[in-house]
Symmetry: C2
Subunit: 421 residues, 2 copies
Amino acid sequence: MKLEVVTIGDELLLGYTIDTNGAHLARELAGVGIEIVRRSTAGDDAAEIAAAVREALERTGAVITTGGLGPTSDDLTKPAIAAIFGRRMRMDEEILEKLKARWMARGWSGGFPKSNEQQALVPEGARILANNHGTAPGIWLEDERGRWVAMLPGVPREMRGMLADTLMPLIAERAAAGGETPVVRSRTLRTTGIGESNLADLLGDAARGPAGMPLAYLPGWEGVDLRLTARGLPAAEAERALDAGAATLRAKAGKWIYGEGATDLAAVVLDECRARRVTIAVGESCTGGMLGARLTAIPGSSDVVLGGVIAYANAVKVAQLGVRQGTLDAHGAVSEETVLEMAAGARERYGAGLGIAITGIAGPGGGTAEKPVGTVWLGVAADRRMEARRINTVGDRDEIRRRATQAALALALRTLRDETL
Amino acid sequence: MKLEVVTIGDELLLGYTIDTNGAHLARELAGVGIEIVRRSTAGDDAAEIAAAVREALERTGAVITTGGLGPTSDDLTKPAIAAIFGRRMRMDEEILEKLKARWMARGWSGGFPKSNEQQALVPEGARILANNHGTAPGIWLEDERGRWVAMLPGVPREMRGMLADTLMPLIAERAAAGGETPVVRSRTLRTTGIGESNLADLLGDAARGPAGMPLAYLPGWEGVDLRLTARGLPAAEAERALDAGAATLRAKAGKWIYGEGATDLAAVVLDECRARRVTIAVGESCTGGMLGARLTAIPGSSDVVLGGVIAYANAVKVAQLGVRQGTLDAHGAVSEETVLEMAAGARERYGAGLGIAITGIAGPGGGTAEKPVGTVWLGVAADRRMEARRINTVGDRDEIRRRATQAALALALRTLRDETL
């Protein structure tokens, strides 16, 4: 089964909002072997929506849209697509009752707004896709030739919930009924601390594609992801080919690989700490809390993360982390000596097993010839070991800070595992 | 001038990478009055690239592509588009020399790789767009009817640089030569702390569009943005209409509006602190450093932000922020009493003018009937004022935490300005 995705909204078309829905749909559908052949974005314009959906429908006969189902006047998706199918709109009393009940249950002030009734208008002959995560229901419209359009809401949380709860089972059923088993499977190995071309050198013969599969290099702030893709194979065979390819990559570059898929290095560090019954405290200067935020973004992190100090000002480094004024004077805030005292201070003052510290120059100002923007020192203090490392990274302020958290976590992982770089 | 954008790459189509290039192009072009009517994404497949670009060209006669210009085998953009224009590929010796010189200057090991020569292949009759930020040059192809395609690289930094340096002047020149002055201008007012439908009620007659312009409601974790759009007016007239519309919105909902455009509430709080010579210290439980990270994401924040405590564990709240054990025992960690002691503790221990604290239940676990997931207490301690507020928010862990930082900043701003909610 091939399909196209059309995301709708001026805010997407004009770039005010980054389209994460299209990417989420593509990932989820590819995971069950459904091929997305094109994605488009149309603005809040009935004629443009109709044209984009009609053209997609002509190419593939299967289209998912997101957006434009809400109560406000710029939500035009349903009538525009109903017109393609030659259907009129009707008020669905059941949906209307649910909308009203939900409104009352929330205890919102004022009566049910007239404008919200629009959400209960559906094309004739439509199948309703329940929305368990919000108000606007989804719509499934199909013609006599079996061509269909599924309309999902634009709010990412609602769209994701409806996709998982309702649409994916429907699409899987449809694909199975058609006797189709097209499979596209992929496996991603995540590396950090090594560049794309050095990685290619290290992989040697496998650099272009181990086990006869294409290998993509996907560099980002977390490191370089290696993605293997198996196309056109039955599921079991695809998995075997991916296993073989991944084994080859691990044999050659295993030292730099910290996980598969969407694994977050922070989660790997937390698991390693949990296994060793080690707690964490952080001391952050240039990242200002980003490392703590990243660690605590992971549900259940409270059994490992105690907390830490955001030591943005030097006075805070001294008073709250016990960095000596003499160290700051002699070596500066961005130095091996300072970062080690910060890590040790966080560990001792918070009674943690592991102290992790970051101090650097995130820019855009503050760089010098000796310590340019992008210079960051990372430090880790453990029971019987102290490690520090300097990185010189590139990018804007946000990217430098994110790269710094990644390098600090990589250093923490190696320290926990007692590995050297 | 109307144009379409086609972004190219399996990683975009399959959702492994979020497409930020398309959004950037749309924002930049809309800013000079060029209307993007559709955006599409095609995978690394020559036939699909050719089809997507050909169809876009037929609709508008003006297309920008990003991606697929690199040296690896999946970079197919140039030959696929050359074929649409009936052009052959030729080796450009000047580009080849530059690529080689760049390679040598970097001091990279080994000779210039054969695969990199591909980057110097260009369609016959193409205009070369210099790349001052990377290796792959951009391409401008045009037919005898004046229809054109501009091919930009996919690496965001390179794409943005080439757009600003080379392509925008070219497009502006082209639009001026055509005697066109189509203008699309928009203005966004950012609100927080009030829902979409309450905002619509508050705006009354202006809810659908003040000054005869369409008004879009864009809800997100930061709040609801209100976007006014002026189409088809000369620039000065569009600006006057936007001024009038914005004034109407401010008159009705000014209390909830904290800025325009892409203004970050954190930056507004920093400016307010700067004007009052007040410093900030934070005390964060469920957000784990996210508020600190957000404040310090802003360049130059070091004159206001001293730092703070990530008090994830209760023991840290007691030891590092001075929260009384009795308060925790009597009211729990997520309570008005605790958040106020956290805010006061951060302020006093760090010697700051303003203490801002957050404690809540970010989920997915930890909720109770009385304090469900999404319950967050925010506290602010200032010189002669203490404020606390409870929010009950929705979303996943990440969204709840982000919403918590926004609500905390909103409370801080009102406290600084001595306003009540």
